[in-house]
């Protein structure tokens, strides 16, 4: 499995297929063999999460994981606390997600579900990562809210970062990416360009029929 610079890739699969496990392993939250994961030509599998983050990989965790006792803006500042150079800072984030700017002083728990997801993505961007990993952005959100968030993805990608989207909502994900991996029981069951995949081949890989 690979992700090229500036590319958007989707990882899909049924519940329990191992999608979150894959992202956590890349981010260093779960241990893996040092050479199992390489980033920019270097093995990073053995690094702890904070060191992986310092190299420019940000994970937007499943369920958003905002810091409840911090305000919206403080959440963003924690995201940016590594001071990596790049396009994202508070003002460019507030341009992308104006609602966060309006509510920057609120406790993060006071945001709606969609706004919380925006804040989680924004917090990931504040690190100015080279690779952004998003775990189930659409989880528990109304379709209209999901669409709203997905309309920001092109702007994010235009800044030149790579993106990995883990999704259950296959249709939504396929529209946003160039390539797709389908996981099944921890293994890649299908890989290909997003436009080449048909509903049938995906269903086959999804359920292993």
């Amino acid at each position: 499995m690979e992700v090229r610079a500036g590319e958007a890739v989707a990882v899909i699969g049924a519940n329990g297929a191992g999608k979150s496990t894959l992202l956590k392993s890349i981010a260093g939250l779960l241990p893996s063999r040092p050479d199992a994961i390489t980033f920019a030509g270097e093995p990073i599998g053995g690094l702890p999460a904070h060191a992986v983050a310092a190299r420019g990989i940000a994970l937007v965790p499943e369920g958003r994981g905002l810091f409840a006792s911090l305000s919206v803006e403080e959440n963003l500042l924690i995201g940016g606390q590594l001071n990596r150079p790049g396009p994202w800072n508070l003002s460019s984030i507030y341009d992308l997600f104006p609602v966060l700017g309006e509510r920057h002083a609120m406790p993060s728990t006071a945001l709606s579900g969609g706004q919380q997801q925006m804040a989680a993505i924004a917090r990931g961007l504040m690190a100015n990562p080279k690779l952004l990993l998003c775990d189930e952005i659409s989880l528990g959100l109304a379709p209209i809210v999901v669409r709203d968030i997905y309309t920001r993805l092109p702007t994010i990608l235009s800044a030149g970062i790579s993106l990995v989207l883990v999704e259950q909502d296959v249709v939504q994900a396929l529209k946003a990416v160039q390539r797709v991996y389908c996981l099944q029981e921890g293994r890649v069951a299908l890989a290909g360009a997003a436009k080449d995949l048909t509903r049938e081949t995906i269903a086959a890989a999804y359920f292993g029929v």
Binding site: A27, G28, L29, P48, A49, H50, A53, A54, A58, L59, P61, G65, F67, A68, S69, L70, E74, N75, L77, I78, G79, Q81, L82, R123, A127
Partner: protein
């Protein structure tokens, strides 16, 4: 009447010291859910460090803070990195047992080095200087200074916790260590910084304790208990609440001592237990803990 005003005033001033005992305790509990049983013994350790510094360098106790505070902070950082980080987790027994072990080690180590004799730091003329507040009510300059330092320490901690990047890192790590790691925060380092800050406060408290009263290697556990009582009386999650808790404890002890000298500490414990029975979330809690 002035009699009682004096009693309460003395209680409030001692309460400032208790608030300092409590602040370090509540800081690390807030950040990493660790109750440090050796907290009181570390206060006594700081007192002995100040004793050695004043005796060998011929400096005053207040100047010795310049040495003792960074030294204790370094001890805190190392202690957390080398030992305490390995005890953190769901189970509360490992940190409890390990800090209990540290407590016994510090007590017996100090006993071996310094014997059980009473010691005291001499601060010179400032110890006897008094200030007249109004007719019949005098307070010592030293207790007043110590109280002012306690207020400053709490205010500084409040500032660090809510207004700085370090405080943000503390709160984020307390909320979710795992997500904080994703933001590049090494929680082992963050926890060690919290312990360093806690022991810096411990150092200040230890030096003032040593100027105020006699100390020996065995008095640590009682200081831990005073600090703990102040935290609970004040209510979790609020530094100014902790400060107020220290004052309540100090006043309760002063009133007890005024009625019967043998009742000083007992009165503090009783006040604590009564508050626990009628208002277990503390007097000044932000919300239920």
């Amino acid at each position: 009447m002035t009699d009682w005003i004096n009693v309460i005033l003395q209680g409030v001033l001692v309460g400032g010291l208790y608030a300092m005992f409590a602040a370090g305790l509540s800081l690390i509990f807030g950040v990493m859910r660790l109750v440090n049983i050796a907290h009181g013994d570390l206060i006594v350790l700081a007192a002995y460090l100040a004793l050695v510094a004043t005796q060998t360098l011929g400096i005053g106790p207040l100047v010795s803070l310049l040495i003792v505070v960074p030294l204790m902070a370094a001890v805190g950082y190392a202690l957390q990195r080398l030992i305490l980080n390995r005890t953190l987790g769901e189970d509360l027994l490992p940190p409890l047992l390990v800090t209990f072990g540290l407590s016994v080690i510090i007590q017996n180590g100090l006993l071996a080095l310094f014997t059980a004799d009473d010691r005291k730091l001499q601060a010179g003329a400032i110890e006897v200087a008094t200030v007249r507040l109004f007719e019949g009510v005098y307070v010592g300059l030293l207790p007043l200074l110590q109280f002012a330092v306690a207020v400053a320490v709490i205010a500084a901690l409040q500032f660090v916790f809510y207004r700085t990047a370090l405080g943000r890192a503390f709160r984020a790590t307390a909320d979710s260590p795992e997500v904080a790691r994703l933001m590049g925060l090494d929680n082992r380092h963050v926890f060690a910084l919290a312990m360093a800050l806690s022991l810096a406060v411990v150092a200040i408290a230890g030096v003032f304790l040593a100027i105020r009263a006699d100390f020996d290697p065995s008095i640590g556990p009682a200081r831990l208990i005073f600090g703990f009582e102040a935290v609970i009386i004040g209510g979790l999650g609020s530094l100014w609440g902790t400060f107020a808790g220290g004052l309540v404890l100090g006043v309760a002890q002063a009133i007890g001592a005024h009625i019967n000298p043998g009742w000083q500490i007992l009165a503090g414990h009783i006040a604590f237990l009564v508050i626990l029975a009628v208002r277990p979330e503390g007097l000044f809690a932000k919300g239920r803990a």
